[in-house]
């Protein structure tokens, strides 16, 4: 019995020998050209990016060491201010995200080609592209000029940038829905808004909430830099410590940022798991 079932290592399975056909020459050529192009691009950027200074990492190793040493002895004696600044940072992110979601939803619906006519979708999408194209920091600089220094400028910067992001992410979810339930609702005599609220929103809700939490995580991280341009939060403190060579304090602030971001990422991952 056993010799019939046990695999015989000497027995070769009779397979017809075929050679795997090679990719045609034109396709291989395209591959090589692609790699070549990449190398040319990198070489072209070498000087502009000052990559020749890579030796500075080694030459100025004392600076690096000083900085590294500070992390071994972080100075936490002002920890309560740092923590308060971190909380403000999170609060900026919360409001920026909330506003972006609130106003992003109608934009997302109107940016969805299965809901809105093309003459609304296309211009709105370009507008949202513009919001997305400009970084939060750039918006923060503008809003600092417009509404003055402080957290509100940061909130507005996050809001505008994320408006574009939510409009895009949310509308992609809307375009992927099952159209049949929407027809079911339409056939009852429901209006357009009712179609959206009863036929579309229930279908996209899990994805939308997941995107929102994910963006909230990202926005907390972005908000830590907003202070550098004076738009509130821990960034400002961080920037000032580095500029005045207080590396031990910088280290303490960075550690607080890291812990806070990790805590928020973990909490949000938990919630997302429940939602989806």
């Amino acid at each position: 019995m056993t010799d019939t079932t046990a695999p015989d290592p000497n027995r070769t399975i009779a397979t017809p020998s075929v050679t795997v056909p090679q990719h045609p020459l034109s396709r291989r050529m395209r591959g090589w050209i692609g790699w070549l192009l990449l190398i040319v691009l990198l070489a072209w950027s070498w000087n502009a990016a000052e990559m020749f200074r890579v030796s500075a990492l080694l030459a100025d190793w004392r600076n690096m060491a000083e900085f590294g040493a500070a992390f071994l002895a972080p100075d936490f004696h002002d920890w309560d201010t740092y923590l308060a600044d971190m909380v403000v940072t999170v609060q900026i992110a919360l409001w920026g995200t909330a506003l972006a979601v609130f106003f992003g939803i109608p934009f997302a619906i109107l940016c969805s080609s299965n809901i809105a006519p093309v003459w609304i979708v296309q211009p709105l999408r370009r507008m949202m592209d513009a919001c997305r194209a400009i970084n939060e920091i750039v918006f923060a600089l503008m809003f600092v000029v417009a509404v003055g220094l402080g957290p509100f400028a940061g909130v507005m910067a996050l809001f505008v940038h994320n408006l574009g992001i939510f409009a895009k992410l949310f509308s992609e979810a809307v375009e992927a829905i099952d159209p049949r339930p929407v027809e079911g609702i339409r056939a009852t005599g429901a209006g357009r808004l009712q179609e959206v609220i009863f036929g579309v929103i229930p279908q996209v809700m899990p994805l939308w909430s997941s995107f929102t939490l994910y963006r909230l995580e990202t926005n907390v991280r972005s908000a830590t830099t907003l202070g550098i341009v004076g738009a509130g939060g821990i960034g400002q403190t961080l920037y000032e410590s580095i500029r005045s060579f207080h590396y031990a304090e910088t280290a303490a602030q960075v550690i607080i940022v890291i812990l806070a971001v990790i805590a928020i990422d973990m909490a949000s991952a938990r919630i997302r798991k429940i939602l989806v």
């Binding site: 009852t188 005599g189 009863f198």
Partner: protein
């Protein structure tokens, strides 16, 4: 006549006419079966009646009111309940929410948005769910139901519109033979109870003959038969569907129909109902 269709024609995009001058009249309370080969235009006809598909030409009247060419579709659509092959329920909403969406054509916007349906509507929803045998599943989500149960939700939603007519597109095509019969029986019973008219698209000729007395045969967008279901001779079926040996299946299905009507079903065996 409750429903009058005159010269209804539909041309999709570039293709040929899916409907080609269809005339049809259905008196109040009559349930009509619509049969025909795949691509004959059955779904198109049904969907042109409530203008989920916009007809190219022709007119549709519901109890004397013209459906075609008017802007306030809401008032016409809510008088026509639609039942779909794929149920077209909103999966993530509960059975009750799905059924109540049948009132969307009646309740003011603000009420539906706040989910504050009038008490009479909620009572009617319970009564209707009781009628279709789903009172135990009111709070379940639609995606937790079996196919037959989902179709009952679809029927309840359509009934909650208090329609004059049901538009039914292949209600049983996603269901097993036994469930198919139960669903067809339910549709016929509720139509009789409420003296509702209905147009029922079907692929299953035997099932149509079993439950419906009037059959309309569609072929390539034209009505090629309109008469009693016992007039579906092999010759007529050949006109509708094309050349095929109809005698055997037609004979056997007649027997099945008799058994079911007289309640003398064979033990332990659900007779085959499907043909073609």
């Amino acid at each position: 006549m409750l429903l009058t269709i005159e010269g209804l024609t539909k041309r999709y995009g570039t293709g040929d006419a899916a409907l080609n001058g269809v005339d049809l009249a259905i008196p109040a309370g009559e349930v009509v079966g619509l049969i025909g080969p795949s691509g004959a235009g059955k779904s198109t006809l049904i969907r042109c009646i409530n203008r989920l598909v916009e007809p190219t030409a022709g007119r549709v009247f519901l109890a004397g009111d013209e459906v075609t060419g008017r802007r306030d579709l809401r008032f016409m659509r809510r008088r026509m309940g639609m039942i779909f092959q794929e149920f077209a329920l909103v999966e993530r909403l509960t059975v009750m929410e799905n059924v109540l969406s049948g009132r969307l054509g009646y309740v003011p916007y603000w009420r539906s948005l706040l989910r504050r349906y009038p008490a009479a509507d909620v009572q009617r929803a319970f009564a209707t769910l009781d009628r279709v045998g789903l009172l135990d599943h009111v709070d379940k989500r639609a995606d937790a139901l079996s196919g037959g149960q989902r179709q009952r939700v679809g029927i309840a939603r359509a009934l909650l519109q208090q329609p004059d007519i049901l538009l039914v597109d292949e209600p049983t095509a996603s269901l097993d033979p036994k469930t198919s019969r139960q669903i067809m029986r339910l549709i016929c019973e509720v139509c009789a109870e409420r003296s509702l008219a209905a147009v029922v698209n079907m692929h299953d000729v035997a099932l149509a003959q079993m439950f419906l007395s009037r059959i309309v045969g569609l072929r390539q967008g034209r009505v090629v038969y309109d008469g009693p279901s016992n007039g579906l001779t092999p010759e007529v079926l050949t006109v509708i569907y094309g050349e095929e040996d109809w005698t055997r299946s037609a004979q056997r299905d007649d027997d099945v129909a008799d058994e079911d009507v007289h309640g003398a079903r064979p033990h332990g065996r659900e007779p085959l109902a499907a043909v073609g």
